[in-house]
Amino acid sequence: MRQRSLRLGAAAAAVLLFGIPALAAAADGPSPTDVAVNSMWVVIAAILVLFMQAGFAMLEIGLSRMKNSGAVAGKIVINLAITFLMFWAIGFALGFGDGNDFVGSAGWFLGNADAAGDTNSLGLFDFGNALAAYNLPVEAVFFFQAVFCAVSLAIVFGTMLDRTKFIAYIIFGVVFTGLIYPIVAHWTWGGGWLFQQGFLDFAGSSIVHLQGALAAIAGTLLLGPRIGKFREGKPQPIPGHSIPLAILGVLILWVGWMGFNPGSFLGAVGYNFADVAINTNLAAAAGVIGATIGSLVMFKTLDVSQMGNGAIAGLVAITAPCAFVDPWAAVVIGFVVGILVPALVVLVDKIKIDDPIGCIPVHGVSGILGTLAVGLFATRDRLDALNLSGSEAGIFYGGGGHQLWVQVYGVAATIAFTFTASFIVFALIKYTVGLRVSEEDEMAGLDISEHGMYGYPEQFIEVPGAFPESARTDGSSLFAGSKTATSSQ
């Protein structure tokens, strides 16, 4: 077991009790009641984060074309499944198990967890025990971390909508949740080298959101834009088919974030998670206002999908600093990323990247800015309350530029590793099974070409009844390359 000095993990909940003197209970081990309270909060937070899958599903479905809506739906479900299984098998051990500074190596298949509800029954690493954290069963921690990983994966494919082969989703999902994500998570939340430098990312602006966006960019570069996105060099609107579903998605994500950030204390007793909830809501709200103004200024219209993007940009950006900054800072952070979103959407179009859901501005740029914002706005009081003596206050609170510097190279390291790793994986996919469907399949829509049935089979013309089966039908395997339903002869 590695020796560690008194570095205290922000999100990893290795946190002193928050404004409450009595640590006696912790010394004797937490009471059954406290264990129940802590695990209840973390499990409920995990459930809220799990619910975010429905949010991503609705957002991505709403912003995809009608003819691809079923494919998006199927993708969300299978990726969630892959995440749970991979994270259980190896991801959790690599990310959160005891190990070295770069990767964990304990807790495969949750082995040795005893189901009896002992706190930290896996004895993962001393990080928690020494500090009275992980005062809850390891299964609760696993649940929480697994759904975080699932969020990161859900982000990846938003940018790749409407043209990616289903098999590519599956393969990349396995590698990302089993390997890439856990490794980066370990650096900070597993007590690895970034954590030891004092890098702060409370709930994952960089670890969850930026990583997702990086993989998305890597995939998109190899994939290319949708047919019709650029005509004579000019970006064309390819509107999503259902703004109502997209906004339902945004609202579900907003709700889910109430677990994402406040739950990242990984405990309840002694933490003011309501404060984190407020910061999160304020940033989201300011993000909406920012994006609305930005959309009005840049586009001369109140683009509803941009308003939704603004909310999510605010949420992403506040994710890293939510426990370290005051409410006014949350408003500033949210507003800044919000107002940037429309400009960034145009910029992404300019550099000819096709990003249907705004993943790059919202999860990428906002993820970076949010992580850096810790170096600007973190207050000493809040760091002390969390006993984060290894980290400095932000520039605006007299902490000097040190913390900002740490945040910068934390972000840089994440970018370097995740982009490279993802690019390699996607490239391997591209040159083996293929990353993109055929042009015919793309025109016909992924629903019919990969899933055999439209997502909205009755729209627009219901051809009544059914037709006799024909010898002409094409039963070639989906995994054998490009099957098309449109040109079957």
Binding site: P235, P237, P239, M298, F299
Partner: protein, 121 residues
């Protein structure tokens, strides 16, 4: 026997149907189309990308009728579909060789004879 095909604004339809039905011409079909003509396009904007849509939603009205009823029907359409703005639409008159009533198998003029709103022939 003629068939009228009129491309009109949606708003005009209700009154046209009421009037035609009152005249003994309740038989007709409508469908959704998009069209362009002298009416300008409009701009759609989505995530910063703009485009001009030239094809605007219109209603297509199809009425098969006796030669003698054509002018009456055209007048009704003209009266109610007219606003004077571009986009009012056009009416086309097409010759019909024959008409068949599926329910009875009848053919020819009798099929298109004016009738009250809901009296089976």
């Amino acid at each position: 026997m003629k068939k009228i095909e009129a491309f009109i604004r949606h708003e005009a339809f209700d009154e046209i149907r009421d009037k035609l039905a009152a005249m003994g011409l309740p038989s007709m079909s409508i469908s959704e189309v998009k069209g362009s003509g002298r009416q300008g396009g409009y701009t759609e904007s989505y995530r910063g990308a703009k485009t001009t849509i030239f094809m605007r939603p219109k209603l297509k009205l199809e009425i098969a009728l006796d030669d003698g009823d054509v002018e009456r029907a055209v007048d009704v359409i003209l009266e109610h579909a007219h606003t004077g703005e571009p986009g009012d639409g056009k009416i086309f008159i097409i010759p019909l060789d024959d008409a068949v009533r599926v329910r009875t198998g009848e053919r020819g003029d009798v099929v298109l004879a004016p009738h009250s709103d809901d009296a089976p022939a």
